[in-house]
């Protein structure tokens, strides 16, 4: 079997809080993501979902276990990964196009024409071809998040880490963005780790869903999502969809009640 793109082996993360207490955020996390697999991580807030993303990105060194990308242990921040955060966090003083090329500008100090052309193509892909000269505050929240996705795809990373990317959007925009992401991933497949607390979103997007429990964050269950691709609105009408959603909901809840 091929080496998984992302693998976490018995990973733990503890923090020392201000009053000197040790807080365990993650414990015994084992997870592997195959090439071009879309894995959603779902769980109550505070279960360390985002911590996993930061470990994979090399922004946070796990206090236990090994996080590896392409079989090599992650020991420093890596730039072959695209990051999308909950907030778009665009730079308000840059035009949309310059926001998309910002990673290149920031990393190398300059932006060449090839990079700008790629940024334009990405803006077209996320449906913002006519907006390249606008400022971020002229765009809606959903449009800003599309720009952030284009920014994450600039260097054509193989891995995309998304930290609740649609949770700051209104419900309608949220569904629209999820369908949009499905389309983009069909066109240019990536290995995706997607943190969310929306069960339908996870079911619509993911190949596998990791259900987590909190304090410390542990993997409760890993579930395969059976729906065939390409998926779309029709997927949500599948009778299995609600059934699986309920099943996940129960798992998220059962531990909390206990």
């Amino acid at each position: 079997m091929a080496v998984p793109v992302i693998s976490l082996d018995d990973v733990g993360q503890s923090f020392v809080s201000r009053d000197g207490q040790r807080l365990e955020a993650l414990a015994g996390i084992a997870l592997s993501v195959e090439r071009h697999e879309f894995v959603a991580i779902i769980g109550p807030s505070g279960c360390g979902k985002s911590t996993i993303l930061r470990q994979v990105a090399g922004l946070l060194r796990p206090t236990a276990g090994v996080v590896a990308v392409n079989g090599l242990q992650v020991s420093e921040p890596r730039d072959d990964i695209g990051l999308v955060f909950q907030r778009p966090t665009l730079l308000p003083w840059l035009r949309v196009l310059d926001n998309v090329t910002f990673p290149m500008k920031h990393k190398t100090g300059r932006v060449d024409d090839a990079c700008r052309a790629r940024a334009r193509a990405l803006l077209a892909k996320v449906g913002l071809a006519d907006f390249e000269s606008r400022r971020p505050d002229e765009l809606s929240g959903g449009m800003q998040q599309r720009v952030a996705i284009a920014r994450a795809l600039l260097q054509d990373p193989d891995i995309l880490l998304m930290d609740e990317p649609f949770s700051a959007l209104d419900a309608l925009t949220r569904d629209e963005m999820a369908l949009e992401l499905l389309r983009i991933m069909d066109e240019t497949p990536k290995t995706v780790l997607f943190v969310t607390h929306s069960i339908p979103e996870a079911l619509l997007l993911a190949d596998r869903i990791v259900v987590m429990t909190a304090r410390p964050g542990r993997v409760r269950e890993v579930m395969d999502v059976p729906f065939a691709r390409p998926r779309g609105l029709a997927t949500m009408e599948d009778p299995q969809f609600n059934h699986l959603a309920n099943e996940i909901r129960q798992q998220v809840f059962s531990r909390r009640v206990a």
Binding site: L83, F85, W93, P103, H106, G109, D137
Partner: protein, 255 residues
């Protein structure tokens, strides 16, 4: 129409009414001009002094204000960057800054003059001292207000620290820096005047002190009016620079 009236005509009208009232009350109650000169007295007194003389005093003060202000900016912004970067320096320098800021500037002004002589240097130093604390504090706050995600993005790109500051943190701090720049430009005028009170042979602050000692109160008022004008003008200038060059830093709907 109503909004335009409130925006443009009303403030000007209020000003005119106050000046007229001032003139009228002084006439009705026959207030002596060395107690409270009438606006017309002030205009006459201002006209009695040669233009070149006014300009000389104005330039003397303005020089101190501008040199002190820009020197203060040149010191405080790099200092804020250093403080944001180093916990150790932040812990050691900030308490000292607080002590400097807590010292009444008027109280140390004479001491500074004794130490640094009666030339331009002490006046510039006093202006610097009064302006730089708000600038350091605001800039530091701005540099720290940058969204954590952008810093993570910067780190994931393994960009040099310099670029993190130049391309992310400093631009993010611009609104904070400008709010301090606006406060400080008027503080700089105060600083220059205080410095002139202590030791100067020229300048509008010096003129006020000199005129009042001779009971030439209308002329002192004229100098005061010019000072207020300078202060307002400099403030407007800073506002203009912000709107012209950093329109994205304004809250929505202001530009």
């Amino acid at each position: 129409m109503g909004a335009r009236f409130a925006d443009s005509v009303a403030p000007a009208a209020t000003f005119v009414v106050i000046v007229l009232l001032w003139e009228g009350l002084c006439r009705v109650f026959a207030v002596p001009s060395f107690v409270l000169p009438r606006p017309s007295d002030i205009v006459i007194a201002a006209g009695a002094v040669e233009w070149s003389q006014w300009l000389g005093h104005l330039w003397a003060t303005l020089q101190i204000v501008l040199i002190g202000y820009f020197l203060s900016i040149a010191i405080s912004i790099p200092l804020a960057i250093v403080l944001t970067n180093s916990r150790l320096l932040s812990r050691t320098i900030v308490p000292m800054l607080v002590i400097v800021q807590s010292t009444p500037i008027v109280a140390i002004a004479p001491i500074i003059v004794v130490t640094l002589g009666a030339e331009m240097l002490p006046r510039v130093v006093i202006t610097c001292l009064i302006t730089f604390f708000p600038l350091v504090v605001s800039t530091t706050t701005g540099l720290r207000a940058t969204p954590e995600e952008l810093i993570e993005l910067s780190r994931s790109l393994r960009a040099p620290r310099v670029r993190e500051f130049m391309q992310i943190r400093l631009p993010y701090a611009v609104p904070y820096i400008f709010s301090a720049l606006k406060v400080c430009v008027t503080l700089a005028v105060i600083g220059a005047v205080v410095a002139e009170f202590v030791a100067a042979q020229r300048g509008l602050g010096y003129l006020i002190l000199y005129d009042t000692s001779l009971f030439k109160v209308p002329q002192a008022f004229a100098a005061l009016v010019i000072l207020v004008g300078v202060s307002l003008l400099l403030y407007r200038l800073v506002v203009w620079v912000e709107r012209r060059f950093f329109p994205w830093a304004l809250p929505r709907g202001v530009s």
